[in-house]
């Protein structure tokens, strides 16, 4: 008889990196992703790129979501992408949001960040993006 295996739920690790206390956005997004059926691991404030990647590996997350409002996005996003390369885990998708100017978004996407969402983005838009990116799992 065939074996009935469930689909792998998409696990998303979300974090605030650097010295940035704006956690309202990341919490709102985390809740929206939970309500859309994703398993969200929230690791809290003041994370380093090394901590984020290490936690994502332990949690077997397919996605890392960073939230940055401090202006340090041009160093922190590439640092996480770089650390993923060092740990041989480039299959993990990096996306995020926060205060990020249009020009920087273009530059960061060239550096391996999959997508970025700025203030005022409807939560459904973020969910829709994930659904499209991972049609196999999640909600």
């Amino acid at each position: 008889m065939p074996v009935d295996t469930a689909v792998r739920p998409v696990r998303i690790l979300v974090a605030k990196v650097g010295l940035d206390g704006h956690d309202r956005g990341v919490k709102v997004v985390a809740r929206a992703l939970r309500d859309a059926g994703y398993e969200v691991i929230y690791t809290g404030l003041r994370q380093t790129p090394e901590m984020v990647v290490d936690a994502a590996l332990q949690e077997d997350a397919q996605v890392i979501g960073l939230s940055i409002h401090s202006g340090a996005h041009m160093t922190l996003f590439p640092a996480v992408v770089q650390e993923l390369k060092r740990r041989k885990a480039t299959d993990i998708v990096v996306f995020g949001g926060g205060i990020i100017p249009e020009d920087d978004i273009v530059a960061l996407k060239k550096k391996g960040v999959a997508e970025l969402f700025t203030p005022g983005t409807p939560l459904q838009e973020i969910v829709d993006w994930l659904r499209k990116r991972f049609p196999q799992g999640g909600g």
Binding site: M1, P2, V3, D4, T5, A6, V7, R8, P9, R11, A30, R31, L33, R34, D35, A36, G37, Y38, E39, V40, I41, Y42, T43, G44, Q47, E50, M51, D54, A55, L57, Q58, E59, D60, R87, A89, G139
Partner: protein
């Protein structure tokens, strides 16, 4: 090399990512990693398991964090499985216990894994048991479980942990009297955490009074030497009382070994788990049969009761198994 054995090789070589992936497979009850649960011949491979349960916000994660700190000072490697409930509506979850354990980030001897407590085929306890075996086979000395004390989860923790710690606080709204049925039976150790807040002595006192009313219901080998759950007061946020807590955990482990209770528990668990695995497999096959077989469903609807169809499904599983046994 196929995907499966490549994962196995990386697991045996100590690759954290392979361990993490194996746990994900176990969570969705994928049988392909079962071979990894037994350690290589001659190797160590079973970790001691302590489980923490209690109402939301009582300080379980903070206590686990403090205990990990103590165990790391002793040179032990530690893994933590922290479960939070999934939404019953969407299956999604926010798993936030790691936030309190960031002190141990980047320590290669500490592995922390968050799990959604529901929505896994076969229930939390099956997946957790398998994950614990994986962690033991990977080489961890100690496994710590954290579960929110809602629903059935504390009973499930007690079914997998060697020592179950029930955490309470002074500001528990409804007081000790309202403690959920079954808790007294599963607690090997009580912790009254947040002993920096007013009223902790009262909680400890009420607890002591209640325990003296409830004679321990030990059976079997341990009946003549029953275990009396100690009450430990802690301030987890300040690492206070953690040495005492660890001493109590060790003392309970010695009790399990000297009383013969450890062997009893091991046998009982294997039997329970076997029954659960059988039920799990049968449930899967039943769903498949009822989904695929139009005639069976038609018969079922005509009967209006499940028994004839159930027997038919069990017969099919039986003959399938015998065929496989011969082939």
């Amino acid at each position: 090399m196929d995907g499966e054995s490549e994962l196995a090789a990386r697991f045996r070589a100590g690759d954290i990512r392979a361990l993490a992936r194996a746990i994900s497979l176990v969570e969705r009850r994928d049988p392909s990693v079962r071979a990894l649960e037994t350690p290589p011949k001659g190797g160590e491979g079973s970790a001691a398991v302590v489980g923490f349960t209690g109402a939301p916000g009582t300080g379980k994660s903070t206590l686990v964090d403090a205990l990990v700190t103590l165990l790391r000072k002793q040179g032990k490697s530690v893994s933590v499985i922290a479960t939070d409930p999934n939404s019953p509506f969407t299956g999604g979850a926010i798993l936030g216990d790691r936030i309190r354990m960031q002190r141990h980030a980047l320590d290669p001897k500490v592995f922390i894994r968050s799990m959604g407590a529901r929505g896994h085929l076969g229930g939390l306890s099956l997946a957790t048991r398998e994950a614990i075996r994986l962690l033991g086979a990977f080489g961890f000395d100690q496994v710590i479980l954290e579960t929110v004390g809602v629903g059935q989860s504390e009973l499930e923790v007690a079914a997998v942990a060697d020592t179950t710690v029930v955490v309470m606080t002074p500001n528990l709204g409804d007081g000790v009297q309202m403690i959920k049925a079954g808790i007294l039976e599963i607690a090997d150790i009580f912790v009254v955490n947040k002993a920096d807040l007013d009223g902790y002595q009262r909680v400890a006192m009420e607890l002591r009074a209640m325990l003296s009313l409830n004679a321990p219901g030990a059976t079997g080998a341990a009946a003549s030497k029953p275990w009396k759950p100690p009450i430990i007061t802690t301030v987890a946020a300040r690492q206070e009382g953690i040495d005492e807590l660890w001493a109590a955990i060790e003392s309970h482990r010695r009790y399990l070994e000297t009383s013969g209770r450890a062997q009893e528990l091991a046998a009982k668990r294997l039997k329970d788990e076997t029954a659960e695995v059988v039920a799990d497999l049968a449930r899967q096959q039943a769903r498949l049969a009822l989904g695929e077989d139009g005639a069976l469903t038609e018969q079922l609807l005509k009967d209006g009761s499940p028994y004839r169809a159930a027997e038919e499904i069990l017969n099919r599983i039986g003959s399938d198994g015998r065929k496989r046994g011969r082939g």
